[in-house]
């Protein structure tokens, strides 16, 4: 178990893009802890640094200063290859646009993370089938993503994020392309299937309809965390 039950710890994290007069400070000294077993939502206006924050926390973007610890591993001390392998076994991703490979079937898409870490194809597809049944898509194994609705595609993306049992799942606007009912369904699946005492979820969202699914909500503005509060009632 990680120190104090903390999955992700950020201390004084900064990140900027560009140089000189065109330099943009996306993160200006962020301090944040994400605990195991919690669903943390990151909210704030566009351009406030939410996506940059989950990118650095998920080790897909290098930060400039400060320290990020993910499951007791200090990201700055890891090489790019180590980070890549670390992501493969510890972090799941859910994207706004699903990012399902259109030429692969639903089951093959879900099996991809297992294939990346070296599982055999048959075993990976078998595990993908299990997880797809868990998210209610057991009858869509051989379908192509284009044959599914937006909500179904996002559930496939969630299944893909869960398939290799990662300890951290980061989601970028998982419901923004969905209607209210489908968004709630997707969040229900995420909360029910993904959340466990050994796993943490970070969700970036603008969608206040889903705030009720969060354990805590971190509000960001201008590259800083301005408030971390327990779940608040939705409007």
């Amino acid at each position: 178990m990680e120190r104090n039950g903390t999955a992700v710890s950020l201390r004084g994290v900064t990140k900027s893009y560009g140089s000189g007069s065109s330099r943009v400070h996306a993160l200006r000294g962020v301090d944040l802890d994400v605990r195991l077993g919690e669903l943390l939502m990151l909210v704030g206006p566009s351009g406030c640094g939410k996506t940059t924050l989950i990118s650095v926390a998920a080790a897909i973007l290098d930060h400039d200063e400060g320290e990020i610890t993910v499951f007791d591993r200090v990201l700055k001390s890891m090489s790019q290859v180590e980070k890549t392998r670390f992501r493969g076994t510890n972090i799941g991703f859910v994207f706004q646009a699903y990012n399902l490979i259109p030429t692969l079937t639903v089951a093959e898409n879900v099996a991809v993370p297992l294939l990346i870490v070296g599982n055999r194809r048959r075993a990976a597809l078998s595990r993908a089938k299990e997880i797809l049944e868990a998210v209610g898509l057991g009858d869509k194994l051989g379908a192509l993503p284009s044959a599914l609705s937006g909500g179904q595609q996002q559930r496939v993306a969630i299944a893909r994020a869960l398939v290799n049992d990662p300890r951290l799942i980061v989601c970028d606007e998982p419901t923004s392309a969905l209607d209210a009912d489908t968004g709630r369904l997707v969040m229900d699946v995420l909360r029910r299937s993904a959340l466990s005492e050994n796993r943490a979820l970070i969700i970036v969202t603008h969608d206040n309809r889903i705030f009720s699914f969060a354990d805590r909500i971190a509000r960001m503005d201008d590259g800083r965390i301005i408030l971390v509060e327990p779940q608040v009632a939705t409007s």
Binding site: T52, I60, G88, I91, P113
Partner: protein, 386 residues
């Protein structure tokens, strides 16, 4: 992950077929043009190929290729025969002469005069008549292509098919009567004139009066004697040029390579095939990668290393490369098969397959490299912005 790479490749049928077709076209053009070039160049020395008996060709030192005849004095034959190691040496006349056809038209023909007693140097295949029939009065043997095309007789009715020259027909060569006693088959020559065989002495009567008429001396060396060594000895003793058959072929080949526009013309066509193939395949493969960049980024974010992505892209490139190469050379081979027996020179040799394979490999590597660079540089965080 390799099956993922393959499914990504073949899943977009349009792009996949575009890639394979681009490479097929390149392989086809490179193979086909190279084969025609090789066929043409082979024709430049086909006459040497047809004469398999002599080991060595002796000629004037200034001769540059088989059709560049610089006659010798007849006495040179005796000098060559006198060189130690020469088993036999026979004269050969080779010259372009005017033949007058039955309808009064003239046609340039390639006349070959063979040694009267041995008839060494005769056609490789007789279709009608026998080689020994050349010993009859005014006898000539005509090649089948010449007999049925340029030397053919007028059709019996207007618009009809010309009638091939046949045994018993009479033509005039340089105002001398010549009777066809046989029809033969020879390899097609570069200049494509009708080929007429006769005896050496008769050929000299057909030829315009000149002080020297001996074109070549054909030599056979004694058993166990290295032809190259004997050729050097003949050259040393006589002051003439003496080449083995292979050396004479090389001399002829080199002349056409260096002194004609053939290599440049075909080189341009081959290069064009290479460039078009590179452009089509390179651009299509690059576009394919660009359109899949989001998915490559997703794979990277999910833990795929650059090394694995590199292997996936190389596999995709290899698959389309092998398919394009196979289809291209298959198409070229089919083209050659369908064109067999026509005037088209087509010779597909293993070296051309290696050339085409190498060119396709270069195209594929180039296409893969420009795509790989894009994927290697891809920041996985980009997937949150796509």
């Amino acid at each position: 992950m390799y099956f993922i790479a393959l499914k990504m490749l073949v899943g977009d049928r349009g792009k996949y077929l575009g890639l394979v077709m681009g490479l097929t076209f390149a392989a086809l053009l490179i193979t086909q043009q190279s084969s025609i070039f090789t066929g043409l160049m082979t024709r430049t020395y086909s006459f040497i190929n047809d004469l398999s008996q002599p080991d060595i060709w002796v000629m004037d030192p200034k001769v540059q290729f088989i059709d560049d005849v610089k006659p010798l004095q007849d006495t040179e034959l005796l000098r060559v025969r006198g060189v130690t190691g020469v088993e036999w040496a026979v004269p050969l006349y080779k010259g372009l002469l005017k033949a007058r056809l039955e309808d009064g038209n003239f046609q340039i023909v390639n006349v070959l005069g063979l040694d009267d007693s041995t008839l060494i140097g005769g056609p490789p295949v007789m279709i009608r008549g026998r080689l020994s029939d050349l010993r009859t009065q005014d006898a000539i043997i005509v090649n089948d292509v010449g007999a049925s095309t340029r030397l053919a007789k007028k059709p019996l009715e207007p618009g009809g098919k010309p009638i091939p020259l046949d045994v018993g027909d009479v033509v005039e060569i340089n105002d001398r009567r010549a009777v066809v006693v046989g029809i033969c088959r020879v390899s097609r020559t570069f200049q494509s004139q009708p080929v007429i065989y006769t005896t050496y002495n008769r050929a000299t009567t057909f030829a315009p009066r000149e002080r020297k008429l001996l074109s070549f001396i054909l030599v056979k060396g004694g058993a166990g004697l290295d032809p190259k060594e004997l050729a050097r000895r003949i050259a040393q003793n006589t002051g003439l040029a003496a080449y083995t058959a292979q050396e004479f072929k090389n001399l002829t080949f080199d002349f056409y390579m260096k002194s004609t526009g053939i290599p440049i013309n075909f080189g341009i066509a081959v290069m064009l095939g290479f460039l078009i193939g590179t452009a089509i395949a390179g651009q299509t493969f690059y576009n394919f990668t660009l359109e899949n960049l989001r998915y490559f980024g997703t794979l990277k974010a999910m833990g795929t290393t650059n090394a694995l992505l590199l292997r996936m892209i190389v596999l995709q490139a290899l698959v389309v490369g092998i398919q394009g190469f196979g289809l291209g050379i298959g198409g070229a081979a089919l083209f050659g098969y369908l064109m067999r027996g026509t005037q088209l020179a087509f010779r597909l040799v293993p070296e051309i397959l290696i050339l085409a394979g190498g060119a396709i490999a270069v195209i594929v590597v180039f296409s893969a490299v420009i795509s790989i660079r894009k994927v290697m540089k891809l920041e996985p965080a980009i997937v949150f912005k796509m």
